[in-house]
């Protein structure tokens, strides 16, 4: 069941069309990544979805209900984690959480309990009574996420939560997201890091210039643009014969000899790999190592937009 359904979402700032007819859905327990470069319209899109920015057109449904900025019932189902830690630096982490919990409608005692729970969830129990201003960047971002979890959301919206954080904090954030999706929370995750989208997201929507260029699983996206896997074999022996043997494989293309082996492009290398190895060893050559490089979302983005993700 879709927790979030977005269709025809539009937003303009003056003459600039920031989001143009965006549509997608996120299911229960699914992590959906909105991937795009800076200025692609990701933050504008999720601000409208979170209900903190009005929209010019389109519809957002959360938990099957129509959602709009004044929608208190639907907002109660959403946890919003903005890009920069939106917290009072002169208050402790715990007091920040209690304050936002009260705004979510929790009673004083319940707010205190829930603050302790989410601090535990993001691994900040020991620092909960320290001022947020003394936190490292990574800790502040983890607390930022904790504040988005106070209302036990069905939909968690994370706007580039790992921008500028250390690897340890990044892994902690990933772990927290995985635990949440395992519990059935739908996660909408924006990033301009291709690696993150590949590692964390079940499905990815590629956003550029405010428009959705393509969406699907990583493999679906790769298949969509016809990209092939690159297989590199380090081998010794008659490499010319090996090249000829590989060229005879129907799925193989652009087979070439290298100084220390051979290289070829092939669709779905994992499936064809046994035949590739057999073809090379069949010529009497010995294979030292095999490297398979599957096309990544960077390549997909390049194919779709004609420019790199970080241009």
């Amino acid at each position: 069941m879709a927790v979030l359904e977005v269709s025809g979402l539009c937003k303009s700032f003056g003459e600039t069309l920031a989001v143009d007819g965006l549509g997608f859905s996120v299911g229960e327990g699914e992590t959906y990544g909105l991937l795009g470069p800076n200025g692609a319209g990701k933050t504008t899109a999720i601000s409208m979805i979170a209900g903190v920015l009005g929209r010019d057109g389109g519809e957002v449904r959360v938990g099957g209900q129509r959602h709009h900025p004044a929608g208190r019932r639907t907002k109660a189902m959403i946890g919003y984690v903005p890009q920069e830690p939106a917290l009072y630096p002169d208050l402790t982490g715990r007091r920040n959480l209690r304050f936002f919990a009260r705004l979510h409608g929790l009673a004083r005692e319940e707010a205190g309990r829930r603050a302790a729970e989410v601090l535990e969830l993001v691994g900040l129990t020991g620092r909960g009574d320290d001022l947020v201003g003394t936190y490292s960047g990574g800790m502040a971002r983890r607390l930022n996420i904790a504040a988005g979890l106070l209302n036990r959301p069905r939909l968690l919206i994370l706007d580039e939560p790992t921008a500028g954080v250390d690897p340890q904090s990044r892994n902690a954030i990933f772990d927290a997201v995985r635990r949440l999706t395992a519990d059935g929370v739908a996660v909408l995750y924006t990033t301009h890091y291709m690696e993150e989208a590949e590692r964390l997201c079940d499905r990815v929507g590629i956003l550029d210039g405010g428009r959705m260029r393509a969406e699907g699983t990583r493999r679906e996206l790769v298949a969509l643009v016809g990209e092939r896997d690159q297989v590199t074999l380090r081998a010794e022996g008659d490499l010319g014969a090996a090249v000829r043997a590989l060229a005879a494989i129907a799925e193989a293309g652009e087979v070439s000899e290298r100084e220390d082996g051979v290289e070829l492009l092939v669709r779905d290398a994992r499936a064809v790999l046994p035949r590739i190895l057999a073809a090379v060893t069949g010529t009497g050559a010995s294979v030292g190592s095999v490297e398979v490089r599957e096309p990544d979302l960077e390549a997909v983005f390049l194919h779709l937009t004609g420019r790199a993700l970080r241009d």
Partner: protein, 380 residues
Amino acid sequence: MKVWIIAGMNLRRTFSERTNAFFMIAMPFLMIFVMGLLFGPGQQLRLGVAGGDQGPLARDLVTALTKGERVAVEPFGGADALRQAVERGEVQGGLLIPAGYDAGLRGGGGAEVRYLSRASDLRSLDLTAWVRSVVPQEAAVLRAARLGPFDESLAAARRAEAPGVEVKVSTAGEAIFPEGLGAFSVSAPSLVLLYTFLSSLTAAVGLVALRRSGIARRMYATPTPARTLVAGEALGRLFIALAQGLLIMLGSALLFGVDWGDPLGAAALLVLFAMVGGGAAMLLGSLFDKEGPVSSAALIIGMGLAGAGGTMVPLESLGETMRSVARFTPHAWGYEGFAELVRHGAGVTGILPQLGVLAGFAAVLFSAGVWALRRALIRP
């Protein structure tokens, strides 16, 4: 309920900040004290006295100087210590009685009393005038004592009541500072107005930070209606202004014995003036996108209006033109209202014109502030 939670958070954060604690708590009381000394009526003048052989004639001179309880005498061990105290302003003047003062006078000779005063110090000049009037009177009595046996003649001279001109002072119309008004009763009301407004404006920086940090958006992302969010922030501004005003009023009553007069009138003035300050703060915090310009504007506007409105120097000491200009500031109306309550014992009905004008200022500024804040916090 959420309105109170948001407002309470604003108040707590404002007063828990260390620099705010200094500027909003310590500074106003320091200013009340200083301005009370500068502009307040009836403070005691301190006269240092050194030297002399502490004989009865020297004591008579000192007693004559302290007549009327306006002058307090502080003894000093020597001329150097006395000079230093005068230079530092610890006393407003110093009297050096020469050694052998009594013996010299009893022997028919003269005695030269030296007086040290501070240049360009109004209170020192005041004391000098007093000393210059008392010392010749004492000299006249001593001269009379030489006409016969010294002690008998001295006693007779002191008993004698010479006919003279009696000067009675009375005030035409209404006294600006009525008799018996404490020094701090003049300075405290001015500073309530100055600090209530200034603290409100400087706390407007928090509104900019609220927007810039994304906290406002996060608050709006919760199931909290926009009107609740704006009401909470607006009430927070009002609370900050009220807390600042109340702090000075209660503190000055306890520490300096300021009598604020009719409590209902004082409360009405404070609430209306806090609304003026809160409204101005919301306007200021909504107009700018960065904290720096807000701080600068807060200081310029806060001090400018305070100066023009008669809360930095008494309104009564301003010229006619400036007093007309002051009419356009809420400070002047607040000042007049408090002056009526504190100095002339007026009740709430006696300050209705001032309350009316302040209510007008409050209605305009607070409404405009709420409107601007809503536009700044909630983007369409």
